[in-house]
């Protein structure tokens, strides 16, 4: 009997209830095809299949701090391949969102990038492609920001010289205020969990 593991279902219930697409993992049969199809699997600490097992085993800390849940390139390979039709990508996005809400940072740069991306969408209704990287670079402090800027300056300059960078700041869409009202409503009505 010493090999018995006491599964704690409370985290799984939390995931089913509060994480977008979280209840989809009930269908997982742990075949691992999601991992096999994932372009960044070799960089993950736990491939999706194992993340789902950890959820069932109640390993909250391991799951919400795992870098895997924010290494999704959103390529839909796992979604197409899953024999149980689980939208694996949506589950990973849901977990990434939930982890950040709960104060975890599974992947710093991608988290900053994604948050800034959404901030711009919310504030402008559009993305300012030159402002976004700048904000992400400087999210780690001034010195780190300067270093990152210099590191990517060559690419920025080339894009600019080849007319692939808008020079003027992106303007707000006309209906930005009403868009924000819609998004606020959705934030309250949808899943995703309250901040810890």
């Amino acid at each position: 009997m010493e090999n018995m593991v006491n599964y704690n279902p409370s985290f799984a219930e939390e995931v089913f209830r509060d994480v977008d697409s979280g209840d989809e993992i009930k269908m997982c049969m742990n075949c691992g095809v999601c991992a096999g199809s994932c372009p960044l699997r070799e960089h993950m600490d736990y491939p999706p299949r194992q993340i789902f097992s950890l959820i069932r085993a109640g390993k909250r800390e391991e799951v919400l701090s795992s870098k895997s849940i924010m290494l999704c390139t959103s390529c839909y390979a796992c979604v197409v391949k899953c024999p149980r039709d689980i939208p694996v990508m949506d589950v990973m996005h849901g977990l990434g969102h939930y982890a950040l809400k709960q104060g975890y940072v599974p992947r710093k740069d991608t988290a900053n990038f994604g948050k800034e991306f959404w901030n711009q969408v919310y504030k402008l209704g559009r993305i300012d492609e030159k402002d976004l990287p700048r904000r992400v670079f400087f999210a780690g402090g001034f010195i780190a920001g300067i270093k990152a800027m210099l590191n990517f300056m060559d690419i920025g300059l080339k894009l600019m010289l080849h007319r692939r960078m808008k020079l003027l700041p992106e303007r707000k869409i006309k209906g930005v205020k009403s868009l924000q009202k819609m998004l606020d409503k959705a934030e309250g009505l949808g899943k995703g969990g309250a901040a810890a």
Binding site: D20, S21, P39, L40, M70, L71, C72, T73, S74, C75, Y76, A77, V80, H93, G94, H97, L100, R107, D109, T110, A111, N112, F113, G114, K115, F117, W118, N119, Q120, V121, Y122, G125, R126, I127, E129, K130, P133, D154, I155, K158, L159, H162, R163, R164, K166, I173, K174, G175, S178, L179, K181, M182, L183, K185, A186, E187, L189, G190, K191, G192
Partner: protein
């Protein structure tokens, strides 16, 4: 053939050569475009960091609702991220009427509503199924004369729904390239992801993905790689120098949009219409040699 053209944020910036070439090339085929009034960003694939799933759906439903109220045209989304974000909402509300109700509850805050009646199409879908290969062939005045092109499909332009092409063995881009007189070289990584929207924050991991794709295309004889996605184009073209430094390779292969090749093969202006001067790795030499 009238459509809404939802070009999105990237096609005004890093993907400008896509939009500049798409308009004249498609209009020459009889397509007419209208802009969706006051459109917003689709949220792409990283917005989950800041927003819940419903908010991202509502974001896309706003564009759909505005279009639906305006006219009964299909929406053409050339950017694969815009395409997938919009088409996803449509699929999910069809499966789940409760979701449509929720989406509409949110849209009502801005005085909008969506019935779910607008079709979202990828540019390849429209070119292949509405225009057709024969009509495209008939428009070609400067055929690409067997130029070996690797048609890089990537991910979100066909996955996960496979509306117009196979998700496992897509052929549409190859057929379109062949219509222009090019030879579409087969290469297995044509449906592998390039890192997409998280390339920049995860550059150390994603460079390897692009390296594999470039290597595979070149090993199969490609002189040029074509794409239909602004993220693919950006990641495959702009980081070749970085990849060469990291892996000791010597990549210097032009990455062009399918629509740029169309404009070239239709005998249009190489700068004004085909926007070849927007490319950082110049494709002019190879293309001029091909069309003779």
């Amino acid at each position: 053939m009238k459509y809404f053209l939802y070009w999105g944020c990237s096609l005004e910036g890093t993907g400008a050569n896509f939009l500049v070439s798409l308009k004249p090339a498609c209009e020459a085929l009889g397509m007419e475009f209208e802009e969706i009034e006051d459109w917003n960003c689709c949220g792409a694939s990283v917005s989950y960091a800041g927003a819940n799933d419903l908010a991202i759906k509502v974001l896309n439903a706003r564009n759909l609702a505005i279009a639906e109220a305006e006219a009964n045209y299909d929406i053409v989304a050339p950017c694969s991220s815009c395409y997938i974000q919009m088409i996803k909402v449509n699929h999910e509300i069809q499966e789940d009427p409760e979701l449509l109700k929720q989406v509409n509850e949110c849209l009502a805050e801005g005085g909008l509503s969506y019935k779910g009646g607008i079709k979202v199409r990828h540019i390849q879908d429209v070119l292949y199924n509405d225009v057709g290969v024969d009509k495209i062939k008939a428009k070609v005045s400067k055929p690409l004369n067997g130029l070996k092109v690797a048609g890089y499909v990537g991910c979100q332009s066909v996955r996960p729904y496979g509306e117009y092409d196979s998700v496992n063995r897509p052929v549409v881009q190859d057929r379109l390239l062949e219509a222009l007189g090019a030879e579409a070289v087969p290469f297995p990584t044509k449906i592998r992801c390039c890192g997409s929207g998280i390339f920049l924050p995860e550059i150390d991991y994603c460079m390897g993905l692009v390296k594999d794709i470039l290597e595979d295309a070149l090993n199969h004889g490609a002189e040029l790689i074509s794409t239909v996605c602004p993220m693919c184009a950006m990641n495959l073209e702009m980081y070749q120098g970085r990849i060469n430094e990291a892996y000791g390779t010597d990549f210097d292969v032009p990455i062009v949009y399918l629509t740029q090749l169309m404009a070239v093969a239709f005998g249009m202006d190489l700068k004004k219409d085909a926007a070849l001067n927007y490319n950082v790795i110049p494709p002019e030499g190879i293309l001029k040699a091909a069309i003779g």
